[in-house]
Each structure stands twice: as C-alpha cells, then as structure tokens.
C-alpha cells in the first residue's frame, strides 16, 4: 500500500469528518464526559480488533504515551480526532 492512502484517509477522517461530527455536540453536554465516552468507544472497537489479529499485548510504554496524550484533550476539553 502506498503511504499516500493512509495520509489522505487521515486528513479526511481527522480534519474533515471529525470536526463535522464533533462541532454540533459542543455545548450540548459536559465536554470532558463527551471526550471520555468518545475514547471509550475507540477502545471498545480496538479491543476486538486486536483480539482478532492476535495482537493483544500490553506494552507499558505505549500505555504511558497514550495516557500523556489523553490528558490534553480532557484537560483542555478539546475533542481531538
């Protein structure tokens, strides 16, 4: 697969579809709660995906970096795609 495919997919998903979906939700509920539910939804989809691909391994480094990346969107209540 060419690298341009995931690049285009990322740009469309994160910067076009993501804001279109998230903007109408702003100010409807507490932002922190919404971001928590958003990321919990991501984990709920990722878990069976990893199980199906036999890739369910815990790596403390990745969890730590994920933790660090979870702080800004929650602390600043900025929904991040």
């Amino acid at each position: 697969m060419s690298w341009s495919v995931p690049v285009l997919l990322r740009i469309v998903a994160a910067y076009v579809v993501g804001p279109l979906l998230s903007k109408p939700l702003v100010d409807t509920h507490p932002q922190r709660t919404m971001v928590l539910l958003q990321f919990a939804g991501c984990l709920a989809v990722a878990l069976p995906l990893a199980l199906a691909r036999h890739q369910l391994q815990v790596d403390g480094r990745m969890v730590a970096v994920g933790f660090g990346n979870g702080l800004p969107p929650i602390a600043t209540t900025k929904p991040l795609p």
Partner: protein, 214 residues
C-alpha cells in the same frame, strides 16, 4: 473558542515530532531540496496564517472575549505531550509494532487518563446518563472516525518518514478545519486575500512534499 481559531494553535506538535524524528531517527537522510522547499512552504504558510489571524480577530470574537494567557500555557503543554506522542507513533512504526497492539495500548492509556480527570467530578455519573440516543449515535460515529484517523496516521508513519508525512498532515490540519469553520459553520464573514494566499502556499507546500517522494 471557534473551530477555525482552535486550528491555529495545533501545529507546534507537528514541528516537534518532525524535529525529534530528524534528531533521533536520523530522518535527515530523506531530506532533499524539494522536500525542504515543501516543508518550508507548509510551515511558513501555517505560521503566516496564524500570525495574520491573531492580528485580525474575527468580528464574532470581540477583544473582551479573546483567549486568556493561560490558554497559551495549555497550548504549550499540549504541543509537548502530543508532539512526543506523534514521534512515538513513528518510532513504534519503525519497530514494526502491530496496529492492534498499538491501538489497544494507546487508547487504554487515554481512557485511564480520561477516567482520572472525569470521575472525580461530582456530576460525572449524572452527565454520563444524560445523553440522548441521537447524541450517543453521533458520539459513536465520532469514536469510529477517531479510531480510523489514528489507525491511518500510524500506518502512514510506518510506511513513510515523518519528515514526509508530517508536513502533509500539517497543511490538512490548517486548511480543512479553517475552511469548515468558514463555509460550514459560518464562523467568519469572509477570508481576506492574505488568508487565501497562505492557504495557497500551504497547499503548494504539501504538493511539493508529496511530489518530492512520489
């Protein structure tokens, strides 16, 4: 804060990630004259757009409603954490980490952080049950899009150097939300010629980067 103005604070993490890849993963070897020109155009366009927009706030945001200084502190911490995370994604991609492993560990950490920050709030439980069916469906869609976006980024970092991929994300991050803010959410009456010039420069930079490694 409007969507278009939020976008203006969101590029320092890209620069940090590129710098880390350049220094630690020795991705300077992939740099050539055209790539450097593309990166320069992209970064210059984002900085020019940021500076221009800061000097000309939209009419919908009077000076009294301008962001507080604390926001810049948040933006700095945000850039350090997210920029480090973006670099780590490239690092893991080079190491050959599986997509499933990455997603589960990443979102595991994110959800733990979110729980620690949200649950102490006394009204958190009530807020969790207050979502309408329609909002939950939209939130589910947003989760899926978020997951696809992160997966695509991880795959892109695995397939190409960060110095190639990041300028393209940077331009997308500048242009797409600002255009959405302008045309879909009507946050500003109109862009002036400088805005369009910076957009054009950014797109040209992204194109030069893409063509330099095609």
């Amino acid at each position: 804060m409007s969507l278009s103005r939020t976008a203006l604070f969101a590029f320092w993490d890209d620069l940090l990630a590129m710098g880390l890849s350049y220094g630690i993963l020795h991705e300077g070897q992939f740099l050539n004259a055209r790539l450097l020109l593309g990166i320069g155009l992209s970064v210059g366009a984002v900085i020019g757009f940021t500076v221009h927009s800061t000097h000309a706030p939209p009419p919908s945001e009077p000076s009294a409603a301008r962001p507080p200084r604390r926001l810049y502190l948040y933006a700095g911490a945000y850039s350090l954490l997210v920029g480090g995370g973006v670099f780590f994604m490239r690092y893991l991609g080079v190491q050959g980490t599986g997509l499933g492993t990455f997603l589960v560990n990443w979102y595991g950490g994110v959800v733990v952080a979110a729980l620690l920050l949200v649950l102490p709030s006394p009204d958190a439980r009530a807020a969790l049950t207050a979502f309408s069916r329609g909002h939950l469906v939209r939130l589910g869609g947003l989760s899926l899009v978020t997951l696809i976006a992160l997966s695509a980024a991880f795959l892109a970092y695995r397939l190409a150097p960060q110095t190639v991929v990041q300028p393209l994300f940077l331009v997308g991050e500048m242009v797409a939300p600002a255009l959405l803010g302008l045309y879909v959410f009507a946050e500003r009456a109109a862009f002036d010629r400088w805005d369009y010039l910076y957009f054009g420069l950014g797109l040209a930079g992204g194109l030069v980067v893409a063509l330099s490694v095609a």
